[in-house]
C-alpha cells in the first residue's frame, strides 16, 4: 500500500472518530461554560446512552438510529433532574466541591450499572458491511456514526443560535450576573444546560455502542479524552471543542497506528500534559484580579 493511501486512510478514520469525540467534548464544555462545573459523570451519561441503544436493539429490535433519538429526551430529563435535585443543593461556586460531587455521582452510576447489568462486554452489530472507497475500506457504521455526530452538532448549534433557551444559555455562559439582572432565571438555565449536556453524552453513547464494546465502566475513558479535547479547544469554548475533537481524533488514529490501541489512553494523557505545559493557564486564561 502506498504511503499516501495509508495517510488518507488514517485521516479519514481520524476525522470520523474526531466528530464523535467532538460531540462528547461539546457537552462537557457546555456545562463548564455555563456553570463552571467539570462534570466527571459525563462518561457515565454516555454509558447510559450506549445501554439505551443496546437494549433498544437487543430487546425491542429497534434501529439504533431510533434508539438514539429516543435517548435524547430521556437523557435530558435525567440531566435536568440531577441538576435540579442534587447539584443545586451544593456550593456551585466551589470548583473542588462540584468536582468531588460529580466524582461520587460517576462512581454511583457506574456501580449501579455494574450491579444491575452484571455482564461484562456487549456490542451491537449494525451496519458492519465493509465498503471499499479505493484507497481504503471501512465498515459502514463509521460513516453512519460520523453522520449522526455531524447532524447532532449542527442541530445543537442551531438550537443555541436561534431559540430563546439557546440565547439564555449563551448569555449565562458569558456573564451569569448580568444574565440574572436581565431576568434570565439561571437555575432553570442551569437545569436545561445540564440536561442538554447529558443528552449530547447520550447521543455520543449511542454512537459508541455502534462502534465499540459496551460495558458499565466504559465511561471513564471517554471522559478523559473529552477533557483533553476541552482543554485543547479552550474550556467553555464550544466551537473549540468540536475543532479540537477532530484534531484529537486524527492525532489518536495516527498514534495508535504507530503503537497499539492499548496506548490510546496514554496518548491522551501525553497530549494533555503537553498542552498544559505549553499553555500553563490552559487555553483560556483566568485573571483573579483586575478592575
Amino acid at each position: 500500500m502506498a504511503i499516501l493511501d495509508i495517510l488518507a486512510e488514517l485521516v479519514v478514520i481520524g476525522v470520523f472518530l474526531g466528530a464523535f469525540y467532538g460531540l462528547i467534548a461539546l457537552g462537557l464544555s457546555l456545562v463548564f461554560g455555563v456553570q463552571n462545573v467539570i462534570n466527571l459523570a459525563h462518561g457515565e451519561f454516555l454509558m447510559i446512552g450506549a445501554y439505551i441503544t443496546f437494549f433498544g436493539w437487543s430487546i425491542f429490535d429497534l434501529n439504533p438510529l431510533l434508539s438514539i433519538v429516543i435517548s435524547v429526551p430521556i437523557m435530558f430529563v435525567v440531566g435536568a433532574a440531577i441538576q435540579g435535585g442534587l447539584l443545586e443543593r451544593i456550593d456551585l461556586d466551589n470548583e473542588l466541591t462540584t468536582l468531588i460531587f460529580t466524582f461520587g455521582l460517576a462512581l454511583a452510576i457506574r456501580g449501579l450499572a455494574q450491579y444491575a447489568i452484571n455482564v461484562d462486554y456487549q456490542s451491537i452489530s449494525f451496519l458492519t458491511e465493509s465498503v471499499d472507497v479505493g484507497f481504503t475500506a471501512f465498515s459502514l457504521n463509521r460513516p453512519f456514526a460520523f453522520g449522526i455526530a455531524v447532524i447532532s452538532t449542527l442541530l445543537f448549534f442551531a438550537f443555541l443560535k436561534y431559540t430563546d433557551w439557546g440565547k439564555a444559555i449563551r448569555a449565562t455562559s458569558q456573564n451569569p450576573e448580568i444574565a440574572r439582572a436581565c431576568g434570565i432565571r439561571t437555575k432553570r438555565v442551569r437545569m436545561v444546560t445540564f440536561g442538554l449536556g447529558a443528552a449530547l453524552a447520550g447521543i455520543a453513547g449511542g454512537i459508541a455502542g455502534i462502534l465499540y464494546t459496551i460495558f458499565p465502566a466504559m465511561g471513564l475513558d471517554y471522559l478523559l479524552k473529552a477533557f483533553v479535547i476541552v482543554v485543547l479547544g479552550g474550556l467553555g469554548s464550544l466551537v473549540g471543542a468540536v475543532v479540537a475533537g477532530v484534531g484529537f481524533g486524527v492525532i489518536e488514529t495516527f498514534g495508535t497506528w504507530y503503537t497499539s490501541s492499548t496506548m490510546a489512553s496514554i496518548i491522551a494523557f501525553v497530549v494533555l500534559i503537553l498542552v498544559l505545559l505549553v499553555r500553563p493557564q490552559g487555553l483560556f486564561g483566568r485573571s483573579d484580579s483586575g478592575e
Binding site: 485573571s287 483573579d288 484580579s289 483586575g290 478592575e291
Partner: protein, 238 residues
C-alpha cells in the same frame, strides 16, 4: 525627605487583545513616601498593581525595585524582596482566626508570634484574636488584610482601596497603621476614591485615566489640574 528611588516603572503596557488596560505608564517613587493613585473606575489602577507585583505579566515595559529589574519576578519573589500588596476585593482567610491570618505571613518576620501580638494590639482586635475572620465585620477584615502584609516587614506596600466601604473609626485605625509603618521607613502607594483622605494623607498623587498616567503632582496641583477634573467629571463615576 530622602531622594532615594525605591520603585521605577518604565513604559509599562498591558494589552488584552484589542484592549489596552495599561498604556505606556512610567513613574518613580521615593523611599518613605505615601503616594496616592487615583483615577476613574477602569482607569487601570488594579491592573497596574498586578503588573508591578508580578500577578500578571506586562505586554511591554520594565519594573525596577531598589535598582533591580523585577519585571519577570513572580508575586512570591517580590514579596520576599519586600514589595507587597493588598487586593481591591478584600481577601482574608475566612476559615482561620485573626491570629492565624497573621501567622500565615510568618516566613519573613524575625519573631512572628511577638510581631503578630503587637499588630493585633495595634489594631485593637485583641478580643477577636481567636475569632474566625469570616465572623468579622467588613471593616475589621480590611484591617486584618492590611495587617497581614505588615507581618512581612515590607519596604513597600501597594494598597488597593484600603478604605472603601469602611466607617470613620475604622478609617482612622487604618490610617494610623499606615503612619506607624511609614515611621519605620515603609513606602506606600494607595488607590483611594475618597479625595479628602487622598489630599490630607498623600505627599504626591498619580492620576490615571484610560490606562494612561494623566499627571502627577502635589495634592494642590492635582486638585487644580483641568485634565483631572475632566477625567473625573467626564466619566460617570466620581
Amino acid at each position: 525627605m530622602s531622594s532615594e528611588t525605591i520603585l521605577e516603572v518604565d513604559g509599562l503596557t498591558k494589552q488584552y487583545g484589542e484592549l489596552t488596560a495599561v498604556d505606556d505608564v512610567s513613574f518613580t517613587i521615593e523611599r518613605g513616601t505615601i503616594i496616592g493613585l487615583i483615577g476613574p473606575n477602569g482607569a487601570g489602577k488594579s491592573t497596574l498593581f498586578d503588573l508591578v507585583t508580578g500577578v500578571q505579566d506586562p505586554t511591554s515595559g520594565r519594573v525596577f525595585f531598589e535598582g533591580d529589574d523585577i519585571t519577570d519576578n513572580s508575586l512570591e519573589a517580590n514579596v520576599e524582596r519586600g514589595l507587597v500588596r493588598t487586593f481591591q476585593k478584600t481577601r482574608v482567610l475566612g476559615q482561620m482566626t485573626v491570629r492565624e491570618n497573621l501567622l500565615v505571613a510568618s516566613q519573613l518576620a524575625d519573631q512572628p508570634r511577638e510581631r503578630a501580638e503587637e499588630l493585633i494590639d495595634l489594631i485593637d482586635l485583641g478580643e477577636k484574636a481567636d475569632v474566625l475572620a469570616d465572623d468579622l465585620s467588613y471593616g475589621q477584615q480590611k484591617l486584618v488584610s492590611i495587617t497581614q502584609v505588615m507581618m512581612l516587614n515590607p519596604d513597600m506596600i501597594l494598597l488597593d482601596e484600603p478604605l472603601a466601604g469602611v466607617n470613620p473609626t475604622m478609617e482612622n485605625k487604618i490610617l494610623q497603621l499606615i503612619h506607624e509603618a511609614q515611621q519605620r521607613g515603609t513606602t506606600f502607594v494607595f488607590v483611594e476614591h475618597d479625595m479628602g483622605v487622598i489630599m490630607s494623607e498623600c505627599e504626591e498623587i498619580l492620576v490615571m485615566n484610560s490606562g494612561r498616567l494623566l499627571t502627577r503632582g502635589s495634592p494642590e496641583e492635582v486638585q487644580e489640574d483641568e485634565r483631572v477634573i475632566e477625567a473625573y467629571f467626564g466619566s460617570e463615576d466620581v
